[in-house]
Symmetry: C2
Subunit: 113 residues, 2 copies
Amino acid sequence: MFNDETIETFLNQIAFNADGLVPVIAQRHDNNEVLMMAWMNRESFIQTMQSKQMTYWSRSRQKLWRKGETSGHTQTLKEMLYDCDGDTLLAKVEQTGPACHTGAPNCFFQTFS
Amino acid sequence: MFNDETIETFLNQIAFNADGLVPVIAQRHDNNEVLMMAWMNRESFIQTMQSKQMTYWSRSRQKLWRKGETSGHTQTLKEMLYDCDGDTLLAKVEQTGPACHTGAPNCFFQTFS
């Protein structure tokens, strides 16, 4: 577990946007499948790092959203990475059930062709 | 190749944000490695679909940016997917050389630990 001071140093590495948000790519840790993209604010990052349960900021509902809180399709954090600019996170997760609210395994089931 | 009419129908599936941009996750098509996340506007999407060369919108430089135009580290599009909300794209690409401007194979080489 990370203590508050450690999480604060992590937060200082993140370039949150003007809305205080950072995009997070969730990827299955075992086969590298990209599951979804969502957003975190400071509080959702803190809760995620403390609980290891992926917790996003819902822009439509304007509230914290612990993935799977209603569906049971939780995401357990295995590793949190950040990019060269610090403005995008990549979360390697263990996914329970389908990641997409449509019931699809991941949200990227549509192709332009 | 896609004609203009087809690309127009694709554009209508995309939920661009208030700035006219959509985030794009670039993933290696052969091993599912996530390489980077960048942004596209309508014109960069059109050029990408026409040329198969990943072309982003640089928010810092406020101009179109064909990946690899200076470095030679191009990304050739293999498949363009979009998510359930239409507000994120996932591009499966063939990457030439390192994807990151730092010389790293991908931009996510830093971890919170």
